[in-house]
């Protein structure tokens, strides 16, 4: 059946695919918190935007390194995936060639981790925006 899934013999109706369930995660990935803002969750969206953006920018200001697409070391690939989660922030940073300095002190390495974690937190935020869009969460 097209509109249902079967799990251990029990039929669970699948969530209807609405326009918002596609747009909210996409916008939320591009601009952290925007997936919540377009669904009128103003405070949540604002807090997510401030938290994720500030964390990413702090990482950049701490001379953290941004990962480029690569097929080398596994940790470098995972770093790229984490950074990519920041969406528009990552795109702008990569386009402007920021975050390319050599890591010379310990806090610069923290900066690198700040940017990766900001991206990973944005992945969680995107998933939350999707859950709101499909009505799984208020």
């Amino acid at each position: 059946m097209a509109n249902s899934t079967t799990e251990k013999g029990k039929t669970i109706p699948s969530e209807p695919l609405s326009l918002m369930s596609v747009v909210a995660p996409a916008v939320g990935w591009l601009i952290p918190g925007a997936g919540h803002l377009i669904q009128k969750r103003w405070i949540r969206g604002g807090l997510l935007f401030i938290s994720i953006t500030t964390m990413f920018l702090l990482g950049l200001a701490m001379q953290g390194r941004i990962y480029r697409p690569n097929g080398g070391d596994l940790l470098d690939m995972l770093g790229f995936i984490g950074d990519l989660g920041a969406g528009g922030l990552y795109v702008v940073t990569a386009a402007m060639d920021w975050g390319q300095g050599a890591i010379a002190f310990a806090t610069a390495d923290y900066g690198t981790k700040f940017m990766i974690v900001a991206g990973l937190l944005n992945f969680i935020s995107v998933a939350d925006a999707y859950h709101i869009a499909i009505g799984k969460k208020q």
């Binding site: 964390m55 700040f114 939350d128 208020q138």
Partner: protein, 60 residues
């Protein structure tokens, strides 16, 4: 612009922002979000202090 944070302040800033996101995304209503955010923040800072003292003891 370059910002240089020491180890503790970097970890504290990390804890604040991660806790805000965890609180918002992992709970349903406002009250639970605040409580869970504070819980995460306390766990982050508590873990930081415990790990710091553990490393100090290992070094001795």
């Amino acid at each position: 612009m370059t910002i240089t944070l020491n180890h503790f302040s970097a970890a504290a800033v990390f804890a604040v922002f991660a806790s805000v996101v965890f609180g918002i995304t992992h709970r349903e209503n406002t009250r639970d979000m605040i409580r869970y955010g504070l819980y995460c923040f306390a766990m982050f800072l508590g873990g930081l202090l415990v790990a710091g003292w553990a490393m100090w003891l290992l070094k001795r």
